[in-house]
Subunit: 360 residues, 2 copies
Amino acid sequence: MAPLRIGITGAADIARKNVRAIGIVKDACEVVAVGSRTQAKAQAFIQETGLAGRAKAYGSYQAVLDDPDVEAVYVPLPTGMHLEWVLKACAARKHILLEKPLSLSNGDLDTMLGAAREAGVQLMDGTMWSHNPRATAMSRVLQAQVAPVRDVRATLAFRAPETFLANDIRVQPELDGLGAIGDVGWYCVRASLLAYDWQPPQSVTAHPGAVLNAAGVPLYAGATLLWPRASESEPQRRATLTCSFESSITQDLIITGDGGSLILDDFCIPHHEAQQTFTVRCHTGVGFQDLAVGTTVTKEEHRLTLPEPQEAAMWREFTRCVRAVQAGGAPDENWVGRTATTQRVVQAWYDSVRGGGCTR
Amino acid sequence: MAPLRIGITGAADIARKNVRAIGIVKDACEVVAVGSRTQAKAQAFIQETGLAGRAKAYGSYQAVLDDPDVEAVYVPLPTGMHLEWVLKACAARKHILLEKPLSLSNGDLDTMLGAAREAGVQLMDGTMWSHNPRATAMSRVLQAQVAPVRDVRATLAFRAPETFLANDIRVQPELDGLGAIGDVGWYCVRASLLAYDWQPPQSVTAHPGAVLNAAGVPLYAGATLLWPRASESEPQRRATLTCSFESSITQDLIITGDGGSLILDDFCIPHHEAQQTFTVRCHTGVGFQDLAVGTTVTKEEHRLTLPEPQEAAMWREFTRCVRAVQAGGAPDENWVGRTATTQRVVQAWYDSVRGGGCTR
C-alpha cells in the first residue's frame, strides 16, 4: 500500500520535528503538501526540511484541505485557530493530527469532537510520548508491580528565555491562553491519566502561587487531582502536578502504588531516542528498620532499545488508525477519549487557577 | 572530659534507636538513667538495650529529672506531654533533646521556648537527618551548583499497618494530633527550610484531598509553601510537600534551582548508614533539542562514606551544644531557630488542613 499522504497547515517549529518523524516512517506515511500564510514561506519550509520535489507548497491552509491528494492533515497552528481549521478539515473529510492543547474552551472542544465524529475522521492529538513503546511498558509494570496506584507526582518545566516570555504564542491569551498548563502541564495530566488507567479525576484544584503574565496566561501552576476511591475502605487516589516556564528543565514522574514506585526523569522527551529506561522501586515487604540502619528498598531498572523515536511511533499509530477508517472501520475511540479527557482536565486546571482555586 | 550524662524519660521505641546511637558515640555521652511509668518497665528497657549495670531505672519521669547525675534528658514522650515535661526539665536545669513534633499548638511552643531560654538550657529536636554530614554536603552543593533554588518537592510516606492506624499514639488527637504532618511531614518541611537557607515561608496552604481519621488526625496531607521573592523580577520560590501514613515507603526529595536539581530518594532515613549518595542533575546550558533527539542533562552522583550513623552525629552535636553552655556560653540559637520554624510551619500546615485550606 502507498504511504498515507499528509498535508501540513502551518510552518511551525514543531512541524519540522514531525517532518523528520514522518521521514523515518516513510513506508507508512509521507508529506505531500505544506500550506503557510504565503507560498514563499511554505516553499522555504519545504526546502529546509528536505521535502523539495516531494511536497507541494501552498500559500494558504485551505489549499492543503482542497488538495484531493491529501488524505490527512497535521495542524500545528496556535490553539486559538484550532476550531476554525478542524471544522474546515472535517468539512474536507481529512483525518487530523492536531497539536495540543486542543482548545481554549470546553465548548470548542465539544464542537470539534462532534464535527470529527460526524465526518467520520480520525482526530488525534500530538502527544508524542503517549506512543512511545516505553509508555506501554510502563503501563504493564504499573499493573504487574506497582498496582494499585495511590499517588502520582509529575513535573514538567523549562526555563523560557526572555524572548519566549515576551513573544511566544504560548504566552498570548488569544493564541495559547492556557500557557504553561496547556503546553507542559498537558503532559503531566496525560501521565496521571496513564497511571489511573485513563479514568478522569473527580476534582482538579489549583495550588496557591500560580504565576500569570500581565495578560493572565499561566507561566507556573500546580494542581491536585483526586480520583474516586475504588471502595469506601480504599485510600484516596491522587496526583500532584506542577508545570512551569520559569524553572530549569525538569521531567520528573513518580507513580506510587502499594507495590512500589515507577520513576523516570525524562517522561516527555527521553534523554536518548534509542536507549530508554525507567526505574521501579520495589516496596513489597519493605519497612523502616527498627533501629534504622537503613531501609531495604530495592530498585530495578527497565531498559528498552527502541528502533524509532517516539514521534515516529506516533505517525505509525495515526496511519494505522486512518487506514482502519479507510477500510470501513470507525475512528479509534481510545485516542479520541484520551485526547478529550486530557483537554478537559487541562481546562479544569486552568479554570481553577483563573477562578481562584486555592490560589493566593 | 567524662561523657555527658543523659537521662531518658519514657521507654518508647524511638528511644531504643537513640540508645544505640549514644552507644556509638560513647566518648561523647552516655545513658545514666531511664524513667518509665513503672520501675519494672524501665528495668526491662535497660536490659533489652544493653544498659544493664550502667543506667539507673526509675519508676517515674520526675525521678530522672531529680537525679543530680543527669545533665541532659532525652524526651521521647507523646507530643501532648511535651509541655509538662519540658517545663519540668527546665525547672530542673536539664538540657533537652525533644522528639518531634514539639507541640500541639504555637502557644505551647512559645511557652517551651521561653522556659528553655530562661533556664539557659539547650533545646534541640530529634531530627536525625539534619545532623547527617550529607545534609551539610547538600547545602554546599545547593549553593555551588543549584542556586538560586526555585522549587522543592518532598514526599515522606509509609504504609501504616492496621494496628498502627487503630492504636498508635500518632493517630490520637490528645497524644499526637498533628498525625502524619507532625510525624513524616515534619521532615519534608525541614528539607524545604534547608533548601531555602532556613528562611520561613510566607504562606502554607493545604492541598485538597487531605485524609483525616475519625478523630480528625491527618493521615495524608499535601501543601504548597511560598517564600517571598528575592526581588520583584525574580521567579517565585515554593515547595510542594506531601506526607502520608497510607502510601508505600517514599522519601523523595527534589530541589530545583537555576543551575540544576538535587535529588535523593532516602533523605530522611538513608538506605545505607555508611555509604550515602545524592544526585545533582545539571541544567546549565541545557534545553530541549530542536528536533528533539533527546536532552543533554548530565548527572553527577555525590557519594559520602560516613563513619557514624546520622543519629550518632545528632548526639555528638547535642553534646557539643551542651558543653558550650556548661563552659559559660549560650544555647545554640541555630538549632533552636530551626526547631521553632519547622514547628510553626508544621502547625500552619495542620491548621490549613483543619481550617479548610483548599481542602475539598
